[in-house]
Symmetry: C2
Subunit: 369 residues, 2 copies
């Protein structure tokens, strides 16, 4: 069942957060949504962390006539995978995003002007530390679980390593301990596309630089798909309205990327896109530790990992490296490689493929409670 | 041994070529280089077909002080893989290119102005038909072999299917019967990067639109490399001159792509880049036939194929589809999957990995002569 009509919530912390970079950010607004009821001893909370262009609007609708529910509605609600009859589900919008939490599009109260490029570079660890402030505010000492895919998976990993005492389990899907140079390259050319757009104006645009942002999204979009899914959806079909030998003629897949790229311009802020891309590329679970092993050693709770066979952005081998180390360390770790043609996006598109294992894992880790 | 100092040659055909699109192109200049001597009965010629941004300058140097020899110098010369003591090696620059053969940067003699976007869309088949005119001019009825990688491999395939009576063998490396939607997408975003650059001016630029072309090349460059080769060469190393948390800070791989992208601007014409990208995407060996099988059926000579394990642009499976069909058809076909970390570029970087098989193949197919 759907969670029904939900409301976005917001809290502003009038304190400064010392970022991983050493710079200071504050005050910090944290937008979030919650579903279900927090129980008396605040022991039934699950945090769902969103990916790059996601938001706090995880489930339900804001108004009856919203065309679509939240971005992972299928798994949240009474009787659903994250059962809101049992759990209190929290989805915070990450700092750096443009969906309400403090980001480069926010007004800097100290200057009265939009941050734009004066916004400090933030990291996944910074996002998670801001989320910890939110938990304090909500009176939650410890989470049943943190769950997320892609950038959301990185947040789950940071919860596990930075706040081991505050998480009962972590569930990370389609993620990586640190993006490969291939993944970095693909974000690099996406950034470059925006930097090339004169309408970007070094971040001082009034309206999104649409050509640059649409192209950047087009590049990103390719990395979320797979050879197989593109073959199935588009093959080599040519746009019916173009001549095969027109200079500007387009393959269907080309039209699709362009169409979706320009749609994205209406829903996401360019500077946020850049800051979050940077956070993704910089992500390294081992940063500040001697080794990946030393970082994984810090995880004190059961962990579950999912990787997807056709994900070439964060290929399964990268997850397997973490899982292998955790096994060596004698940690409680589960790993499931899901056979899917949907590439990196599989975690969002095919929750049925991992729902049974995820459900069993949650049951197991909450069994004593 | 090197072929030493070589000269570019050129011939202009004052005839019109009816292109696959139905449009007419003429006169047609064809630039080429040759190495070794054509024998008395013109029976020792091998044609080497270049890739996207290649040229006729296959081997040797134009002047003693050239910093580098031709693009595949390592395999051409006395005693080398293509032994110029024995073979007459021809390397034509494809039409559509900017290295001398007729292309969008050429002056249209009918208007006295640069073609730019009035240049017709050309196909791999058109390139090969122009090369056939060159062979007629040189008095060569039949080639010992046509050899090429990537777009050069497509040309070898077209020689095999369009001029079966004129080729004694074909050797195709790192190629495909038709690029996948993934490969098309990656070219599509490269094109888009150029279209976005205001300096491109719908092809009517005076100077290359550098930001757009450099980015387009950067995107292309990624597709030529592999996860593995990037990991080995760059890993996640961060540029020593940038702070890790600088907004414009760059990973080494990012700097490398940018540096090479801007270098490319000095050596290649933007419109040529676009027309050849189009020819690549449109390439379909089966175009005009009922099926891939019907196309492969036309190949009447021994064929040798090489694919490279880490080539994700034209993955081995695409070559294997052709090989499988040829085997079913009872054709004389050899296939070698080369284990290489160098991605699509492996065919240029690692000739030692396929030289023995290629050499044995050439020996075998020329044994009767």
């Amino acid at each position: 069942m759907s969670v029904g009509i939900v409301k976005e919530q917001s809290v502003t912390f009038d304190t400064d957060l010392r970022l991983e970079s050493g710079r200071i950010l504050g005050p910090i607004t944290q937008v979030f949504e919650t579903y279900g009821e927090l129980n008396a001893d605040a022991s039934n909370a699950i945090l769902v962390a969103h990916a790059w262009t996601g938001s706090a609007h995880l489930a339900g609708k804001h108004r009856e006539d919203d065309p679509k529910p939240g971005w992972w509605d299928a798994i949240v609600g009474p009787g659903r995978l994250l059962d809101t009859d049992r759990y209190f589900v929290i989805c915070p919008n990450v700092i750096g995003s443009c969906y309400g939490s403090t980001g480069p599009a926010s007004i800097n109260p100290k200057s009265g002007r939009r941050y734009s490029l004066t916004f400090p570079v933030i990291t996944i660890r910074d996002m998670v530390r801001a989320q910890a402030m939110l938990l304090d505010h909500l009176g939650i000492k410890r989470l049943v679980s943190v769950l997320g895919g892609s950038m959301g998976g990185m947040q789950a990993l940071e919860w596990g390593t930075q706040f081991p005492e505050r998480v009962g389990s972590i569930i990370a899907l389609a993620t990586t301990p640190a993006p490969s140079p291939m993944a970095i390259s693909l974000n690099a050319v996406a950034r470059w596309a925006i930097f090339n757009d004169p309408a970007w104006k070094k971040g001082e645009y009034r309206k999104n630089p649409k050509d640059g942002l649409a192209l950047a999204r087009g590049i990103g979009h390719i990395t979320f798909l797979s050879e197989e899914s593109m073959q199935a959806k588009f093959g080599r079909r040519y746009s019916a309205r173009d001549g095969l030998f027109d200079f500007f003629g387009k393959f269907e897949v080309e039209r699709y990327l362009s169409y979706n790229g320009y749609n994205f311009v209406d829903r996401f802020d360019t500077n946020s896109f850049l800051y979050l891309a940077k956070a993704l590329d910089l992500y390294d679970i081992a940063l500040g530790y001697e080794s990946l092993q030393e970082a994984m050693e810090r995880i004190a709770c059961p962990a579950q990992f999912f990787a997807f066979t056709s994900d070439w952005l964060y290929p399964p081998g990268q997850t397997e490296e973490m899982v292998g180390l955790m096994r060596q360390l004698g940690k409680d770790v589960e790993y499931h490689l899901i056979d899917s043609p949907y590439g990196h996006d599989a975690f969002l598109l095919e929750h049925e493929t991992f729902a049974p294992q995820l459900s069993a894992f949650l049951k197991r880790v909450t069994a004593g409670e």
